[in-house]
Amino acid sequence: MSLAEAAAEKNAKFLHGEHILTRMTYISRYNSHNDNDELNKILDQARKNNSSRGITGVLVFNHDYFLQSIEGRRPLINELLRKLVKDPRHFSLQIIEAREIDQRRWTHWDMNYLTPTSRHKDKALQFSGASQFNPYLMSKRQIMMLIETLTKMQEQEAKKNVVEKRGLFGLRKAS
């Protein structure tokens, strides 16, 4: 065995599939015993930790449930998963889908925070057979469509806000 081969073999033992881009989507139940500002803490933490690890994604929250899609290098996504499974601030985590992707859907280095308010509520029920919103009864496709629909709504609202700002302040650019 040549030196290069030996080095390659030694290297391979520590390789993790870093070259593989993965998207993982999961649902979980929010722990109702959490403090009021716990959600803000979760979001702050996620933003800080994920941006340094190259993890992008979206988080949907509705007081009872989390729906989250995270994208990044396979070992880092799994490192995050192992932490999430042990996090007592939510429970009954279920992976809905984990798959390799060619490109990311979410390009932000932080989390989008989407609350299904009354305006969003109809959208939630649109993809659900139950009379109450419950992602545990939804298929992968329904969950992905709901996340996609809420993301588009948020993007449209953000655009509208920019237009309104421009209306008020003339040529002010979007921040």
Partner: protein, 153 residues
């Protein structure tokens, strides 16, 4: 009206890789396998496990809630570490009708299978992408029955 705590009857398949804890003895391995056999059949879980002294590669199929319950246990199991989910998909039919296991011995036959799906002839599931991991398990199971420890569900 659905019970708020009930789960959808959705069939999923989950494939993961993990690294064996160096302290795990062959006796522990046997215990892991017997335990897996018993628990999985009771939970409606089928699949395929291949392993050697260093690595595990496993596909498990079953109800979404049960598969995720098992995953949480697996993540907490100290007998292996660095668990990586390679793929998790909703499926319309199982690929594994029973529960199978295969010891990843470095035989000529096995090495040829490892080499087919990776850059090396050694078994290292961390280097595999999802398609390769799935195909590798399928090929290992397709070998003559005597080489595969297989028990009917």
């Amino acid at each position: 009206m659905y019970d708020i705590h009930s789960d959808a009857h959705i069939l999923i398949s989950l494939t993961y890789a993990s690294r064996a804890n160096p302290d795990v003895s062959s006796q522990d391995f046997k215990q892991i396998l017997d335990q897996a056999q018993e628990n999985n059949l009771a939970a409606g879980i089928t699949g395929m496990l291949t392993f050697n002294k260093e690595y595990f590669l496993q596909t498990i199929e079953g109800p979404r809630a049960q598969i995720n319950g098992l995953l949480a246990k697996l993540i907490g199991d100290r007998r292996h570490y660095d668990l990586q989910v390679i793929e998790c998909l909703e499926i319309s039919a199982r690929s594994w009708a029973e529960w199978s296991m295969n010891y990843a011995t470095p035989t000529t036959e096995n090495n040829a299978i490892y080499l087919r799906y990776s850059t090396t002839k050694d078994f290292n599931p961390y280097l595999l992408n999802a398609d390769s991991a799935r195909a590798l398990l399928r090929d290992l199971a397709a070998k003559p029955k005597k080489a595969v420890v297989s028990r009917v569900a």
